[in-house]
């Protein structure tokens, strides 16, 4: 049995290596966590994710910028790749599946990839359509995968407007699907006006929004089921 002291040491190492974008350090610590028999879930959430939370704070404080954020994300994934196969049970209270992509006309995918990472960490099934995605593709993929959530991302004002059409089409095919839009130019006003369920200017925000939306959706379904019976 691993001592509490050792456990704390490994968690601290995972966290710090994410913050210091030290991929090799993260890999080492992740392997050590498995070797001493630590719970992979704990290593992910109390190690990797708590490191990423601190990265988010540093980004907010303008001590870190996008290059650092990308390197920290690489470090987190390096650890996640090792730990994820050993996760027994994700317990976030809610699990869901999500279709995610950058809308047609937009070839930027950095923001989308960070949001995707948060979903990966949280144990969502992620269907990543990539970037410059034709509008119909979002609708097709949502139906095909029966996903709870569709996340649309746009980096520029000039591409953001395309999201409005995707939202309309998704609603037409599936009124219940939850839709989140994100990216630098997106505002609450735009999200409301176009009928999106949520909006997220950044990744931390996106995950919390997503979890709220998926739980709301599941609750709605359960209630509908209960009525039928």
């Amino acid at each position: 049995m691993v001592t509490e002291e050792k456990k704390q040491e490994i968690l601290e190492k995972l966290k710090n290596c994410v913050i210091e974008y030290d991929e090799d350090g993260v890999k080492e610590a992740a392997q050590e966590a498995l070797d001493v028999g630590m719970d992979a879930n704990e290593a992910i959430f109390d190690g990797l994710v708590s490191g990423m939370e601190e990265v988010g704070r540093l980004f907010e404080a303008q001590e870190y910028f996008v290059p650092e954020l990308l390197m920290c994300a690489d470090a987190l994934y390096a650890g996640l790749d090792i730990l994820k196969p050993h996760v027994k049970q994700m317990d976030l209270g809610v699990k869901g599946s999500v279709v995610i992509g950058t809308v047609e006309g937009d070839v930027h995918d950095i923001g989308k990839n960070i949001v995707k990472m948060m979903f990966d960490v949280a144990g969502f099934n992620v269907y990543d359509l990539g970037r410059d995605v034709p509008l119909d593709k979002f609708v097709e993929e949502q139906i095909k995968t029966d996903s709870d959530l569709v996340c649309l991302s746009a980096m520029m004002t000039t591409t953001m407007v395309g999201m409005q059409k995707v939202i309309e089409k998704l609603r037409e095919k599936n009124p219940d699907v939850k839709i989140m839009i994100g990216g630098a130019p997106v505002s609450k006003e735009v999200a409301d006006k176009w009928g999106a369920d949520g909006y997220a200017p950044d990744a931390n925000n996106a995950l919390q929004e997503a979890i709220n939306m998926v739980s709301a959706l599941k609750k709605m379904r359960d209630e509908a089921e209960a009525k039928k019976r």
Partner: protein
Amino acid sequence: MPVSTMTPRERILKLFNGEEIDRVPCFSGMGNVTAEGMKDLGYKFAAIHLDAKMMAESAATTYKYFGFECGVVPFDLCVEAEALGCQINVYAHSEDILYPTIKEKVIHNEDEMDISIPADFNKLGRIPLMKEAIRLLKENIGNEAPVGSYVLGPFTLAGQIMELNDLLKLSFKKPDKVGKLLDVLADAIVIVAREYEDAGVDYITVREMGATSDVLSPRVFKNLILPYLKKIFSELKGNTVIHICGKTNDIVPFMMESGARAISVDQKNDIVETRKKLGNDALIFGNYDPYNVLVAGDEETVRSTMRKCIDDGVSAIWPGCDIWPTVPPENMRAMMDEIKNYGG
């Protein structure tokens, strides 16, 4: 108030010269074609990037219809990257307004960053078409309105010809390597901008939005980007503007130091603070939100935003980005009307 006798071109050239003018001008260094203008010409957005005549005619309509005080070509951000060998996508199939993007980049990994400028670069891609469009646009409205064009800044152009993800990480891990690429790209940008100057543009905007403080730290901007912006502006003879959107308050002194005649910032900039930092003589262009105000806002929002820009102390009313083509005509008219009344 005396009726103005200055043409927009006189007004704006005087502004660049630091001379007295009758009121604050309202123009842009970025794309400003409107759906209204294209509709009457019968042109689709996807087509106007590939034909000099259609490009020039479309660009002229914003001045002709609304009195917006300039004509600007092109409308997309791919001209230099295409001439450097990238494939572009104009979304010809689409009825929607989609801006052209890069389909195939020329640098696929770190080892391919050692590029040189192709021979006869000024004859490649759409550079000759751009020169022709500038000439036609000048013929069309150039006596009354100034004609402008834009090029990308070196960092933003680097993000077009290689993966932005890689570029950003390398700018941290291997700044020397990135610097070498930016140096080559600065030379390429100067070649393109000089061609536009030859064709007769009244001003050129260098769009370096990839280096916004939302993405890069002011320190990296100063050390890695600024030297190459300086190189570009020292080589250009005409009126120049440096444009960066997003967070810019910490880098406006560097933008000024780049050697551009004027700086252009968007709605995230605190103009009052910027004016205080840069002094009364600095040319500061900005800073209304071209989508949330001009397209999605109502007329009163447009008018109050214009008054705020003027009160904050901009030297010219100028959008934070390209004007989205579906802008309501009444908002364009309200903008021009408010500036004519309030901007004296």
